[in-house]
């Protein structure tokens, strides 16, 4: 099982801030997970400059994903 989090306008578009997801068959990277979840959440596919984190570390779309990971998707950060 994966814990998947969404922030900012992505959370609003998807209508949830978090969900538990079975690791889809054949998915080994963040980018592949994005594509697989994008079937249900179109916003993941249409988001410009989508950013991601695996286990609370910012990562690229080719970062590996494994069962038990916490994955977050979000737009570029705007703090400060």
């Amino acid at each position: 099982m994966l814990k998947v989090l969404y922030f900012d306008n992505l959370r609003e578009a998807i209508g949830a801030g978090a969900e538990d997801v079975e690791l889809p068959a054949g998915v080994t990277t963040v980018g592949e997970l994005r594509a697989a979840l994008g079937v249900r959440h179109e916003a993941l596919l249409t988001a410009k400059n989508l950013r991601a984190a695996v286990n609370q570390k910012m990562c690229s779309m080719d970062a590996p994903v494994a069962d038990g990971d916490e994955i977050a998707f979000f737009p570029p950060v705007t703090g400060g």
Partner: protein, 150 residues
Amino acid sequence: MMGWMSDISVQEADFDVGAEIAALSAGDDGAGAVASFVGLVRGGDILDMTLEHYPGMTEQALQEIIGQACECWQCRSVRVIHRVGRLLPGERIVFVGVSSAHRHDAFAACEFIMDYLKTRAPFWKKETTAGGGRWVDARESDDHAADRWK
């Protein structure tokens, strides 16, 4: 004193700038300089601003940024406070303070931490205007500001 100390807070409450600056060098007579930065909510057409963050990752990201700063410059004490929740124009959003033996390290580390915080720490702003709510877009100029330290 070897090494450096740091303290990070992500909180809804406001903070006392004078007390935070004073605390950076309290009891440390090796500190010859304290530099600080305070970020505020700009007014204009903004009625209010709501900040959200990624609890857990935020603190780790800030710790990492502080660590990088302290590898580049000799810092003695670093304090970062970032507010979340609803804020009004004129309110304080963020505080970064650095104490060091000499001013150059304090100035540079303070600016570095702010630049990296803007592009690496998982905070997001949503502004409310008379026309409704809108998420703030990231600025390319912030990426450039962080890149110039590389």
